[in-house]
Symmetry: C2
């Protein structure tokens, strides 16, 4: 059994190495890669079926890497080990998990014990192991209370990238008014219409404020923006 570790921080990498050794005596080879790009290459060459990786790496982040790994071998088992449970990450992961794949998502702040259980759970028992806290975010992002639908989320990204309503309409093949409708839904869900007695009415630029709130609540983050920007650029010839 082979395990591939993709993690850019050397300290964390060696800690993971240790943990894998300890939790998985049946593992005979541990490989390491120090960024998403190297990770993809390693995965391809070594045919490793077990990967544990960080999200948020420079060069190429975990979500990108995981997507290409899964595209090449959808039965790869991946354990995500991240510092954050930003909704943007959780949503990003959920978006790329192939049908029926087994994966896990644990935070770096969890105990040794829990990490080892997750390693065994995902790699040996083929369970999906999602940290409690991450699970919480998943729920919230689905529960229509605060949660944005996928449609709304995509609009949010387009807006955040700075596209005009017209441009979005064109991109999404919708009428202008429909885009604006979606925007209004966003404004409500993100609760952009001023707090209580916060000064005069027209204090906020709703469009901008919605993005600001999304960023503050971690519904969006820099990495989601980068992904969006890349897609945008590749959508045309650029």
């Amino acid at each position: 059994m082979k395990v591939l570790i993709i993690e850019d921080d050397p300290l964390h990498r060696s800690y993971l190495h240790e943990a894998v050794r300890a939790a998985l005596p049946e593992c005979d080879t541990v490989l390491e890669a120090e960024n998403g790009h190297a990770g993809e290459v390693q995965a391809r060459q070594s045919r490793a079926e077990h990967v544990v990786m960080d999200l948020q790496m420079s060069e190429r982040n975990g979500i990108e890497a995981a997507r290409t790994i899964w595209r090449e071998r959808p039965d790869t088992k991946i354990l995500f080990w991240s510092n954050y449970s930003d909704e943007a990450y959780v949503r990003g992961v959920a978006r790329i998990v192939p049908e029926g794949a087994t994966y896990g998502y644990v935070l770096k702040s969890t105990s040794d014990e829990r990490l080892k259980l997750a390693l065994r759970g995902v790699f040996i028992e083929s369970q999906c192991v999602i940290d409690r806290e991450v699970r919480g975010i998943q729920q919230k992002s689905l529960g229509t209370a605060h949660g944005l639908s996928d449609a709304e989320y995509e609009i949010l990204v387009d807006v955040a990238l700075g596209l005009t309503d017209k441009a979005i309409a064109q991109r999404k093949k919708l009428s202008l008014r429909s885009v604006q409708n979606r925007l209004q839904q966003l404004y409500e869900k993100l609760d952009v219409y001023e707090g209580p007695g916060n000064g005069p009415e027209g204090w906020y630029n709703l469009r901008m404020r919605a993005v600001a709130v999304a960023l503050l609540r971690k519904v969006l983050n820099a990495s989601a923006l980068e992904r969006g920007e890349r897609e945008l650029r590749s959508a045309r010839g650029n």
Copy 2:
């Protein structure tokens, strides 16, 4: 001699502890705190004059913590040890360094050797030790080429928080038109006016696009936004 370590990742914390022990034999006490808030308290109680800390911690980030520490004892020597050299962080640090204080800024990716040199340089020799790469960002942010002036940067934050032109004018005690002028300067400096043959003219909402570009270039980041939001809320009664 006492050294206080403020860092939320336990792995990095113990690594730092080790490094301090090795680099500073004259240090007899090493204290640890696991977030900005605890760090402030520790600094106050222990009267430590030497602090090494991470930026970007949950709970309360390094810049906030450093500011209150410096406010209470401006002669404290602080070494920032961070994963990133985002312009937003560099600018944030520069903004709070008191007159004549000695500090350092090194990246977590630097070698053991360099870290130890920085520790000795800042704590013993009272030098300012700034990593090469961080220095580069500093230069760029000053060189008027791409660099935003402080005035422009502040406007950028206000816009990113979602304030309207009118609101900003009021906040900054300027006329509406002046605010819009500053905005236009921003638009030029951030190079928001479409790339080459990128589709029709009105593709971007300039206001939003400027913020997106700033985020992508790390001129702004989530932590800067949070700081801005907090200031905004405290500016009124809220």
